[in-house]
Amino acid sequence: MPSAFGSEASSQGVDIPEAAGRRLAAKSFSSGLSVADFAACLHMGMRPVGLVQGFCAMGWNPGYYLPSQTAYGNQWQGWGSSWSGWGNALDTYYCPHRIVQSAEHASRGFNVEATGIESAWAEGYNATYRRLLEEAAALGAHGIIGITDATKALIGPRVREFHLLGTAVVMDGQPPPERVWSTYLAGSKLGKLYEAGLAPVSVVGAFAAVTVLPVCVTEIQEQGRWDTYGVVSPYGEITQLSDAHTAARRLARDHVKATLDGAALHGADLEVSEDNLVGRTTISAILRGTKVRRVRDVDPLPPPVPTVRLS
């Protein structure tokens, strides 16, 4: 199941809009670069040819995946480690009170990787990214620089829009590209990357979500209650929540690593949020950055000289 974006493989048969064709065929360019970035990009031999974008509105139904708390407590709905195909149990937590599972007492708790939501995000991002590349390819571009991205809830919590926007550039005198490369970087940052012997491959990112189905102890601690059975100290770490928060972030990293193919992720940015979208606490993490590879070996900079400025 794809849980990271940055791959061109996907998705439904939506073509880029007709207006895009007209816009891109016009004999002028638009660009999202600042004037300084524009100048830097010309200096590096890149000629901006157009502002390109990809867009996708994605709807999904977390209801399928919604783990239920029934009269028998937290229900295990799948076989093996799969949760009705929508989730992947990361860890199981057991009740220390030796009480039979019931609606009043959850004697088992689970941290579930919400793979259903993850693949919805990956699909949305990938479709967006593919359309971005299509627009750039229509301009005969070599690469896309200064990409910005946005994703937000469109209408209600179950529809999300994905948007990528960047400036397509042509490198005059270079052979036509096999693949269009892309990067979040622009201006002098991109220049320094080349100076360091690195070249951008593509923007990459991944989304990871972990849903918490609390075991009795987690519930007790989270609500600041005292354990009436006197088994669990009300103080101290809530292991299940700590694990969930750690796992969401590490999963995002590991999903990205799965797309690197031996390259590296540079300038990464991690965003985390917490919601109750599926009726339970879900921790979501998005990690994204530019995938780079080494194109030539360079000597490191000489050790920097510390300076003090007099003015």
Binding site: S34, S188, E237, T246, R253, K257, G267, D297, P306, L310
Partner: protein, 262 residues
Amino acid sequence: MSNTKRSDLHQVTSDLTIDETLLLHSMDWEPVDIVVGASVAAIPTMGFSGSGWAGATDQSSQAFGSAVSSAVARIRDDCARAGGAGVVGVGVDFQVYRHTVQAVLVGTAVRPAGLSHRGQPFVSDLSVRDFILLHNAGWMPLGLAFGASFVQVPYRSIGTVFKQMAANTEMTNLTEAMYQAREQGMERLQSAAIGMGASGVVAVQYSDRPLPFASHVIGFTAWGTAVRLSGDGHRYIKPRVVVSVDDPTTLFDLQGALGTRG
């Protein structure tokens, strides 16, 4: 130290900027992986104290302590698994809620180029620039030191109320309670550092703010990087004194050239 290994960027993830990456290379170190430690700890409701939070101040400090130490242990584990010698540029985020304290640490594991590290990795919130300066000055980071203290703002005494009607007056119980809490927070920071075998803490950051859900409770938190000398003594880094001859009024504004990201 070998130069060939530096080119190996195999499966590296990093949240460092390109400048930081280049700086790291200049001292023959390399980024390894983004590493994470997060922890949540509980604050129990205290007895019959009405608001449900009054009096929970000691428990909160205790919860803060266990959230932080577990988060540090987790990021250390992650770093050790990745083969890093330590974590730099750790983003420190902690939140106090009514019944929980949450601590999240995210940073990039680094190591001397090509050398997989064994042993206890360090954790530091210093930027790569500061890490290098520290390194060149002959010091090494050991870990993050934290201290926290929570205090319930006391009511004015009846005497103070009357005095305040007539003249300006120090609110002594307020001074005492908050002064005490500030000292306690810093004392905990310091003893955490001593516990790591550090001789001091650099770049201490400090926050004092009322809790969002209980404005009568103020949380004092302090954290920084615990350091000790790595060799015999401090090395003077001899900065070169420079005088800029640019005329500031005719300087071209290159701010936009910094790029959009990273």
